[in-house]
């Protein structure tokens, strides 16, 4: 037994024990112990148990996300400071300052690395158990808690005539057409669920600042590469493993959906959508009390009534005006009343074409006076 197997042993044991419990329970309520469906349901049950165990960690993260609202103004400043600086080292400098900010306010919205790493032996343990069923059946052995008879039932179980442990490459002695159809459908389901949770859902839950970073672009590329990797490796996966993976991805998808709808990242598209839904119901935006929100709306109204209304204008004109006016241009009082104008302080002396940004997410009320543009012009050239 090598080192790797020694570490995996307890995880394999747990996996086989959970499978045994589910199989016995389903048999007890009158299901056929040798039926493929009983075993498929046991695998689904196992997946659900595994994912349920990670819920406390997930909830811990949700709770720590709430503290983020407190540091929103400072985060917006930080984002404005690094706006347009998209090279890797600058993004790292921003990440470093961001981390110092979290520490200062004793908040940390990140999930931490250990749970992800801990999931790996669980998955490998499960994979080894499921992948080992066929071999164990041939050798007439049991796998840990599951005895030889159960392993035989497991191995002989079929789904529409397709053996549970047949793969696309080795369809076994069952119904080959059935195996091919089921395996292909599962590989596609597995890939699509993964793609949706990564691309559709996670894409919405990313702040505009993160979207500029090279890491994000790399991540987007990987999201397209992984389906290909899955499709290729999928031909070697037994149907039983594919079922586990698909159910697990479905769970992640649901969990992501719930989190993004209820607890979106500040400054992301998901947060804007949530605030729109809340506005429709007459609720204040996330993280603000009703009074705060009303005060802001009132202030905006007073400002509009007081005199010239701030006309919406293009970024180009804003820059021209800002250059002309330097000091005397309006300082937005509340910061978010006139979106866009406050944002462009850093951008005005930059020739680089800016990435189009939706500014409503990050108010970025810069306390810096316009006189500062002299020094920022210096630093650019």
């Amino acid at each position: 037994m090598n080192f790797f197997n020694l570490i995996l042993w307890p995880f394999k044991w747990a996996v086989s024990a959970v499978l045994w419990v589910f199989h016995s329970a389903f048999t007890a309520i009158g299901m056929d112990p040798a039926s493929g469906w009983t075993w498929v349901l046991s695998i689904v049950g196992l997946t659900l148990v595994m994912r349920t165990l990670t819920i406390p960690l997930f909830m811990k993260q949700i709770r720590s996300m709430r503290g983020m609202q407190v540091i929103q103004p400072e985060m917006a400043k930080l984002q404005a400071k690094y706006k347009g600086k998209t090279d890797q080292v600058s993004r790292q400098a921003m990440a470093q300052e961001q981390m110092a900010l979290y520490k200062k306010h004793n908040v940390n919205p990140l999930a931490s690395c250990l749970p992800i790493l801990a999931q790996m032996p669980i998955f490998f343990g499960l994979f080894q158990v499921l992948n080992g069923v066929r071999g164990a059946a041939e050798r007439d052995e049991g796998i840990l808690v599951l005895n030889a008879q159960m392993i035989h039932q497991f191995n002989d179980g079929t789904l529409f005539g397709a053996p549970l442990f047949s793969t696309l490459r080795a369809p076994g002695d069952g119904n080959h057409t059935s195996t091919v159809i089921i395996a292909v459908v599962l590989v596609i389901a597995m890939t699509v669920t993964m793609f949706i949770s990564q691309k559709q859902l996670a894409g919405k839950n990313v702040s505009e600042a993160t979207k500029q970073s090279p890491m994000y672009r790399q991540q987007q590329m990987i999201i397209y590469i992984f389906p290909i990797i899955f499709a290729i490796t999928g031909i070697n996966f037994p149907i039983g493993v594919l079922i586990y993976w698909t159910v697990s991805n479905l769970w992640s998808m649901g969990q992501q959906y719930w989190m993004i709808r209820r607890n979106p990242t500040p400054g992301s598209q998901a947060e804007r959508e949530l605030n729109e839904r809340r506005a429709a119901k007459g609720l204040p935006p996330m993280g603000k009390t009703k009074e705060e929100h009303e005060a802001e709306v009132e202030e905006a109204r007073a400002k509009a009534a007081a005199g010239q209304r701030q006309q919406p204008m293009s970024k180009k004109r804003q820059k021209a005006q800002a250059k002309k006016g330097q000091g005397q241009q309006n300082q937005p009082a509340a910061g978010e009343v006139v979106d866009g104008t406050a944002e462009d302080v850093t951008g005005q002396d930059q020739q680089v074409v800016e990435t189009p940004q939706n500014t409503s997410g990050n108010p970025a009320n810069k306390p810096r006076k316009r006189g500062g543009s002299g020094s920022s012009a210096l630093k650019k050239k």
């Binding site: 960690l57 811990k60 993260q61 400071k81 690094y82 600086k85 090279d87 890797q88 080292v89 600058s90 790292q92 400098a93 990440a95 470093q96 961001q98 981390m99 110092a100 979290y102 520490k103 004793n106 940390n108 990140l110 999930a111 931490s112 690395c113 250990l114 749970p115 992800i116 790493l117 990564q198 996670a202 990313v206 993160t210 890491m215 790399q218 991540q219 590329m221 990987i222 999201i223 992984f226 306390p367 810096r368 006076k369 500062g372 020094s375 920022s376 210096l378 630093k379 650019k380 050239k381």
Partner: protein, 168 residues
Amino acid sequence: MTEPRHHHGVAGRQHESSQDLFDAAPSEFVHPNNAFQILWLLPQNLLIAGLKMYRALVSPLYGDVCKHFPTCSAYGLESLTRHGALRGLGLTVRRLLRCHPWAAGGIDRVPDGGRPFTSVEQLPKIVLLNHPTPEDRARLLASFAPAASSSPADHTTRQSSPAEPQVS
């Protein structure tokens, strides 16, 4: 008001050179000088290669997860690069054990020491990423210098050298 603006200025000047500095930076791998070293450095270089692959392929899938700066994988890569296979691995494992959901997180750097570097240009890519500001790099390089040398002098020579060619 002056304090943050000054800081902004430094970061801005840094921006012009940081990408070039990063592009020109050497890789993390340790280059052997003789046949014996090829074998001796093999574990370190293999671990570095593995971690680089993990960072390229697996890390992006999870998005931002780590509670620290540098992230666990960046910390691991830097500690393997600077401190070698054995100590690097030990440091990485200990960091991972620190990165749990109840940890406070924050800035947590690889300890000083290990493979010495004398100039910014020598710093491998991961060390640059983990020391993103000129101040961070100056501090790191000063830690390698003999105790007698004063760090401010060090700071200025290094500051001017990478920045100069970049001034348009």
